[in-house]
Amino acid sequence: MTFPKPSFVEAQPVPAPLNETPSTVPSTAPTGELRASRLSELGRQGRGVAAAVIPPAVTLLVLLALWQGAAGDSYTGVPSPQRIWIESKDLITDPFFDRGGVDKGLFWHVLTSLSRVGVGFSLSAVCGVMLGVLIGANRWAHRGLDPIFQVLRTVPPLAWLPISLAAFQQAQPSALFVIFVTSIWPIIINTAVGVRNIPDDYRNVARVLRLSPAEYFFKILLPATTPYIFTGLRIGIGMSWLAIVASEMLLGGVGVGFFIWDQYNSGRISDIVVALAWVGLTGFFLDRIVALAGRIVSRGSALS
């Protein structure tokens, strides 16, 4: 670790003549030493980025090559990457077009699905945390509700759809309900575990300080449970993204799930592959966003 100290003393401040173009050497040109240290700093950062980017990029290329080899040039079955590029170029390069009706770019389909997830997931986050706190804090609530929740959480998302349609009669609230009912269980269960795992020490501190129930809730219980809540929220958002695509396939209208089903019926398998890439990347970013929110809210003490 021998970094030359940046020394600005040696730099000759050259007053730039007015007629000189600004694209030439900046007036406070770094000395050779300084430039070298900046370069080595850049090099180190570059190596870090490369280490993070190159392995998945190489893996991706290898997988695409294998896929290309396996699919070949046949016009039936799953298309090769090359054919996907040829057939779905518009879809890949312009996600923002809107030709009216359901003929829209993938961005709009994903946005519609995301807004549904946003509403359904927000509802389940609020209800899930409240129920989780109740179950975690109250022994009788735990005894009464936990077995029922443990059974209900194993019901697959799509199994809720018919009931949901029968109950709401309309596509939109049915889809929201399916998201809600799919994502709420991990939130409830993780919150409850978090509440029940609050160390006795924290409880004793609260008792010695004679915190009121409200103070205990906001100053001890919620912060102590935050890492668990966010674990639940991360699982929950992943599951709601799973549920939305499946339920949209059946509900129709707009949305990425509907898009996939629609393209299947039109025989445009290439478009489906593109949509899958969108679904996967969106789900990945949703997960990251919730994880990041957890880190910020719990001030870095989240498990994540």
Partner: protein
């Protein structure tokens, strides 16, 4: 009866779990004067922590009563501040916030916001932790955490300070530092202190009296040994002092005799 500042009168504690009853403490009587430093020593599992928790109000008595300053102890409260064995700082709060949580709760309506802030900092200054006020518990060492725990307890201005093996989890050097700090603070503030320990030297060095407990179950007080060393005490000077040596020998003899029994 009732003359002492803190009076533990005929206290017995029985835990009931289903049909299994276990009598942990039996007929404990102890009087502590204001400003006195009393240590409770005994083997692991003898119920000394239970006794401290009873005084704190965290565990209810089965028989008997604890009376502090002419009032019976029925529930936990800030006038009996506890320094827990594993510091029990809240990890999502900074050092300052951990102390101010207690200060704001105890002195709301009594002190102004500025006074409370100053009081928080004053107490952190007492334990020499002002340099790390804005750090989180995870960013400071075990000894520092325990200092903050002590500051939080002192900041409540308790009538009696309860220390539950406060230095048990620390290395010997850190422990010696903290013991010196506690002695300094005790000299300055004249707190009434009840301390649980299993360290003989710690008990002799810090205490005015050492309460030795018999082994559980049905533990009770086996003997009480006054330590008549002058204060302030210097750990190097007292080590050779016959009073110190004698007290130390007395405690060790009690503990070993009990273990053999």
């Amino acid at each position: 009866m009732g003359k002492a500042y803190l009076s533990i009168e005929g206290v017995g504690v029985t835990f009931q779990k289903g049909s299994a009853r276990s009598e942990v403490l039996c007929d404990i009587n102890l009087q502590v004067d204001q400003g006195e430093f009393v240590s409770i020593i005994g083997h692991s599992g003898c119920g000394k922590s239970t006794l401290l928790n009873v005084v704190a109000g965290l565990i209810p008595v089965t028989t008997g009563a604890v009376i502090l300053d002419r009032e019976a102890v029925e529930a936990p409260g800030p006038e009996r501040a506890v320094v827990f064995q594993n510091h029990s700082l809240l990890p999502w709060l900074s050092v300052r916030e951990n102390v101010s949580l207690a200060v704001d709760k105890v002195f709301r309506g009594v002190k102004s916001a500025a006074e409370r802030k100053a009081w928080t900092e004053h107490n952190l200054d007492l334990v020499k932790m002002t340099h790390a006020m804005d750090k989180r518990p995870s960013e400071i060492s075990g000894g520092m955490k325990q200092r903050v725990g002590i500051a939080r307890a002192l900041a409540m201005q308790p009538k009696v300070l309860l220390l539950d093996e406060p230095f048990g989890a620390l290395d010997a050097l850190t422990r010696a530092h903290l013991q010196d700090s506690v002695m300094e603070i005790q000299t300055a503030l004249k707190n009434t202190v009840l301390m649980i320990t299993h360290d003989v030297d710690e008990a002799v060095l810090l205490s005015d009296r050492i309460v030795m407990m018999t082994n559980g179950p049905r533990a009770s007080i086996g003997n009480i040994l006054p330590v008549t060393l002058d204060r302030p005490r210097d750990r190097l000077a007292v080590a050779e002092d016959p009073v110190y040596v004698h007290a130390r020998a007395g405690v060790i003899e009690f503990l070993y005799a009990r273990r053999a029994a």
